[in-house]
Symmetry: C2
Subunit: 455 residues, 2 copies
C-alpha cells in the first residue's frame, strides 16, 4: 500500500512554537498610536492579557507550548500530511504534491491552533469572558470551541448580514455555548452610533471589531481575541509547519515550494515560517525553497498594495501597523473566500515579503473554484474557498512541472474543509460565479487615504 | 499528556471483514419473492454485480479486503478511538467513555466504509454506472465520492423535498461529479406514474428507490447500490469494530457495553459484530459484554416492531426479508435523524436481537439533542443527529454508573459529524424541537399490512 497519509503520534505535537522575529535581520517596526508614537504595552493590557502581549512583543526564537494546550491540540493534532497522488495522476505531472490538512480540527480549519492557546492564556490570566468579532464565522466558531474547552464564556459580534444569511456557523457557535449577537447591536456605543445613523445597517467586520473591542476595553474582566494578523497568532500557527517538517523528514523529502492562502496571514505564516527558519539557518536543503502567499485578485494586498503604516480595521480604532495594505478604506467585493477579504496583512509576513524572503501571487476567483472541484474529485476532500487559492497555485505549479519535466516537491496548506461553503460551490457549478479585479486607479485612490504618520 | 486519542497506523487497517453469519447457530432466513419463494441469486444479478451478491450470500467468517479498497480507506482510516474524558468529568461518572469517530471520512460519516468497496467491486465487474437513492444525502454523497475514486459515474435519485430544502449535500454530490435528480423524475416509469397522479409530489424514499432500481434493472451496464440493511453492507462496516478492538487492545481495556445508533443497522452491526465474535468464541473478556442498538422512539422498529417477513421498501418492489419491522406502510414523523427513519432493520441485526445476542433501546428526540449538545461542549465535536442517539444512551449508562459506583467501560459509535445538520441544532437550541411517540394502535394497524407470505 502506498503511504499517502503521513501521520505522527500525539507525542510528536510540537512542544514549542517558532518565533520568526528571532531570525529577522532587523526588528519589526512597532505598532503606532494615531499620534504616530509607538504604543505602550500597557495601553494594550486593557484588551489583551499579559502572556499574550508578551508573545506579541517577543523576539525569543522558541516559546514553550503549555501542556494543557498540547492536551487540547491532541484532539486533532498532529494533523495529517497527505500525498495528493490522485491529483498528480489526474494532472499527469512528474511533481509530487503534498498537502497539510487542517480541516480535521473540531471547527474545521486551522483557526483553533491559535484560539486554544488564546483561551488558555486568558483563563490563566484570570479573564472572565472573551469577546471577538466574526464574519462568516470561522474564527468565531473556533474561539467558541476553545473558550468551552477552558470554561471561558465567549461573546461573538457577528456581522448582521452573515448572522442572517449564514446561520449554520452561528448555530455551531451556540452549540458550543457562545453568545452570538448580530452586529451592530445596541449593547455598545459603537453599535448604537451606527444604528442611530442607519437602523437597518447590515453591519461590517469593522463595526463588529469596534463592538468587541469596546466591550473588552470597558470591562477589566473581559478580554478581546483576534484570529489573524497579529504576531502571537502567527506564532501559534507555526505548529502547522513544525509538524509538516517532521512529516517530510519521516519520508525523506523536503518541499521545493510552499503555497498557502493568505488573508490576514496566520495560516500562511504558520506553514511557511518553520521552513523559512531552515533557510535563515543556512541549511542546504532549504537553499532553493520558495514560500508563496496566494491571495485573491479581488483583494490583492501583497501584490498591489503599499508597504506602509495603516490601521488594522476599517474604522481606524486599532493601532497603526507597518504592513502591506490596500488602504483601510478599501472594500473588497463579496467574494466567497471571506477569510481573504482583508485590506491589510500580517506585519511579519509583510516585512518578510518586503525583504524578498517570501513571494506573493494573486489568483482569480472562478479559477480557484475550478481547482477546488478538481481537488475534491481527485482527493475526495471538499476544500474551503480560501484553501482553493493554494490548490490553484499548486496545480499551476504542477502543470509547469509537466511542461518542464521537473519533478518538484510541492506543499500546500489545505487550511479547512468547505462543509459550510457548499452554497458557493453551488454557484460555481451552476456558472454563476464571477471574477473581480480592481482597477489600479481605485487602489491608488484607496491608498491615498493612508494615515500620514510613521511613513 | 493523557492519551485521549488512540490512533492506529495505516498498516493496521483490517485486511479482512468479519462475517457474523459464520457464527450464527442457524443460517439467516432467505429473502423471498412476493410469491413466498426464495429469490434466486440470478434474479438479483440484474441490479447487483457478482462479487457483491457473493458477499450477500456468504457464510464464510473472514472475507479479504482488496488492497485497492484499503488504499482508499487509508485516506481516513484507521479512524480514531477517543476517550471522552471531559464528558466523564462533566458527568462526574466513574465510567470510562470511549467513542469511535467515523465523522473523519470525506463524506463525514461511516457510509463510505461500504460505498468504497461497492464502487470497487462494481468497477471490477464491468459496471459502467451506479444508481442509488438518497434522502438527506448521507449515502448519496458517500457513493458519489466512492464512484469518483474508481472512475464510475453515479446517478442519485434524491427525494424532491430534500433536494429543494437540503441543497448542501446535493452540492457536495455534484462537486464529486455525481448527477443528482429530484425524484420523482420523468426519467423512469415509476417516476412518471407518480407524476401522472400528482405532478407536485414531494417524493419519498420509496419512490426514489423504485427509480434507482428501475434504471439499474433496465440497463445491463448499470448497477444499483444500497447504503444499509443488506448483509454485504454490514460486512463492510465491520472495519469499525475490528479497528476498535485493536485500539482497546493497545490500551489494555475492553468495553462492558457498546451503544450504536440503529436505522438500517449497518453502523451498529459494524461496531458490534466484531466484539460479538469474541462472545461467540467464548472469550472470557466478552462474557458480560452488552451490545445495544439505539433507535428513536418515533420509529421504534426493534423495540416495538414484529420479527416478520416484510418488504424492504414502502412500495413493495424489493424482496421480502425476515426482520424487525413496523410494517412497510409505517411512515415515521419527520424527525431530524433522517438516517434512523426506516420501518425495517438489517436481517442480521434482527435475527441476533431476536436470539437475544443483542439488545435494543428507544430514546426520544429532544433528549438526544440535549446529549449531543452536552457532548459538543465537552468534547468539541458537533455530532450528527443519528449519533446523538448513541450519545444519549452512553450518557445515561454513565449516569447509572455514577449512581452505582461501577467504573464500567462504555463504547459508542460516533457515526458522523453534524456539519450538515446545524438547522436541527438551531431548532433544538431555540426550543422548537418536539418528541413524537407512536400510539401502539397505529403500529398494530401498520403491522396488519405485513405480507402474508413466509410467516
Amino acid at each position: 500500500m502506498t503511504p499517502l497519509r503521513i501521520n505522527l503520534e500525539a507525542e510528536d505535537i510540537p512542544i514549542r512554537w517558532y518565533n520568526v522575529v528571532a531570525d529577522m535581520a532587523t526588528p519589526p517596526p512597532p505598532p503606532l498610536g494615531s499620534d504616530g508614537k509607538p504604543i505602550a504595552p500597557e495601553a494594550m493590557m486593557a484588551i489583551f492579557p499579559g502572556p499574550i502581549l508578551e508573545q506579541e512583543m517577543s523576539a525569543q526564537r522558541w516559546i514553550a507550548i503549555p501542556e494543557q494546550v498540547r492536551q487540547v491540540y491532541a484532539q486533532w493534532r498532529p494533523s495529517p500530511l497527505c500525498r495528493a497522488l490522485r491529483l498528480e495522476q489526474m494532472l499527469g505531472t512528474p511533481a509530487k504534491i503534498f498537502y497539510k490538512y487542517e480541516g480535521v480540527s473540531p471547527a474545521g480549519s486551522h483557526k483553533p491552533n491559535s484560539a486554544v492557546p488564546q483561551a488558555y492564556y486568558n483563563k490563566l490570566a484570570g479573564t472572565k469572558r472573551l469577546t471577538t468579532e466574526t464574519g462568516a464565522g470561522q474564527w468565531g466558531s473556533s474561539i467558541a470551541y476553545a473558550g468551552q474547552m477552558f470554561g471561558l464564556p465567549v461573546r461573538v459580534y457577528m456581522v448582521k448580514v452573515s448572522y442572517q444569511q449564514k446561520p449554520f456557523r452561528r448555530s455551531m457557535m451556540q452549540t458550543w455555548g457562545a453568545e452570538v449577537f448580530a452586529s451592530p447591536t445596541d449593547r455598545t456605543q459603537a453599535g448604537r452610533n451606527v444604528l442611530a445613523r442607519d437602523p437597518k445597517s447590515p453591519g461590517s467586520l469593522g463595526i463588529a471589531i469596534s463592538e468587541a473591542v469596546e466591550e473588552a476595553a470597558a470591562d477589566p474582566d473581559v478580554c478581546y481575541t483576534l484570529g489573524s494578523v497579529l504576531n502571537h497568532v502567527l506564532l501559534h500557527q507555526t505548529v502547522i509547519g513544525l509538524e509538516a517538517k517532521k512529516q517530510f523528514e519521516k519520508i525523506g523529502l523536503y518541499p521545493d515550494v510552499i503555497y498557502g492562502p493568505c488573508g490576514g496571514g496566520s495560516s500562511f505564516g504558520g506553514i511557511a515560517f518553520p521552513f523559512l527558519a531552515d533557510k535563515f539557518a543556512g541549511e542546504k536543503r532549504a537553499a532553493n525553497l520558495r514560500c508563496v502567499a496566494v491571495e485573491p485578485t479581488s483583494c490583492p494586498t501583497l501584490t498591489q498594495g503599499a508597504y506602509a503604516y495603516d490601521y488594522g480595521d476599517a474604522s481606524g480604532y486599532t493601532p497603526i501597523m507597518k504592513m502591506y495594505t490596500l488602504g483601510h478604506d478599501f472594500v473588497p467585493p463579496g467574494i466567497h473566500a471571506g477569510g481573504l477579504r482583508y485590506h491589510g496583512d500580517s506585519p511579519l509576513v509583510s516585512k518578510l515579503l518586503h525583504e524578498k524572503h517570501l513571494e506573493a501571487l494573486a489568483v482569480p476567483q472562478v479559477a480557484t473554484f475550478a481547482a477546488g472541484v478538481d481537488f475534491a474529485r481527485a482527493e475526495g476532500i471538499v476544500p474551503a474557498p480560501e484553501s482553493c487559492h493554494a490548490i490553484r497555485a499548486a496545480i499551476d505549479e504542477a502543470l509547469r512541472c509537466k511542461q518542464s519535466g521537473q519533478p518538484r516537491t510541492i506543499l500546500f496548506n489545505l487550511t479547512g474543509h468547505g462543509h459550510f461553503d457548499m452554497a458557493s460551490f453551488d454557484k460555481y457549478l451552476s456558472g454563476q460565479l464571477e471574477d473581480y479585479a480592481y482597477p489600479r486607479e481605485a487602489i491608488e485612490q484607496s491608498l491615498a487615504g493612508l494615515p500620514k504618520v510613521g511613513s
